[in-house]
């Protein structure tokens, strides 16, 4: 870099903006306040996490209930089938199956 630019750099250094104490305190306080507040995404996550957990619990309970109901239903059919009388006619004879 040229000698001119080096001298200019030395003379320009005092031109740097120096914030006063009040401005620095204000910025630091506002930054502190803002970073301690949750972001929109964090707020949404905080709301949706319990909701999602509740929905998942309901879905699991519903699945278990459906499986249980389905099992009960098939065993009832078998009982009903077993307790019924069936009559079969064959070669002029009537045959009875069941109780």
């Amino acid at each position: 870099m040229s000698d001119f630019f080096e001298r200019l750099r030395t003379d320009a250094a005092p031109l740097r903006f120096e914030p006063d104490g009040a401005m620095m305190s204000r910025i630091a306080a506002r930054v502190r306040e803002r970073i301690s507040q949750p972001t929109v995404a964090q707020l949404i996550a905080a709301w949706f996490r319990p909701l999602a957990a509740s929905l998942a619990a309901v879905a699991i309970l519903a699945s278990v209930g459906l499986v249980f109901a389905s099992d009960n239903s098939s065993s009832d059919d078998q009982q009903q089938f077993a307790s019924s009388n069936y009559e079969i006619s064959m070669a002029g004879s009537d045959l009875s199956v069941g109780n």
Binding site: S2, D3, F4, F5, R7, L8, R9, D11, A12, A13, P14, L15, R16, F17, E18, P19, D20, M23, M24, R26, I27, A28, R30, V31, R32, R34, I35, S36, T39
Partner: protein, 185 residues
Amino acid sequence: MDDPLEARAVSLVKSGDTAAYDYLVSKYLKRVVSVAWGIVRNAHDAEDLAQEAFVKAFRNIERFRSDEPCGPWIFRIVSNLSLDVIKHIKRVHHEELTDVQPAARRDVADLGAQSNEIASRVDAAIESLPEMQRIVARLHLVEQFEHAEIAAMTGLSDGTVRSHLSHARRKLKEQLADLYGDSHE
């Protein structure tokens, strides 16, 4: 990283300790405000931009590598935010910024009358440059950043930064010939 306290503060912030961020804010605050002011030339905007830059850096600290100094990263954020503000103002007003406030210099009282006059002349000469030359020249001459740092901060290529500085040097030398007449290239 040269500063072990800074590395410690970064890892604490990453692990959720927001109070540790105070160290990084206090370490870089003056410089960040100065960089913003150098671009937007308005103390109120510089204050808002510095605040925004620190909040943005905090929100993205997970992406930051702990073994590197925070400074260049935060300076890059504040430079980008400041350049966005300039673009927005230009888009809205279709005119150059003219509302320039004099810098509140820390050592203005310490400067002799002659030094003060030289600083004022240099300030006016830098301000008379076209926008990107002015920004690059100010970052180099006043904020004392090197070419590569300015390129990283502004998103310009190293060659473009050098080109802006070269044009700025020629114009500044013409304007300040009476002050630096005996300087040689």
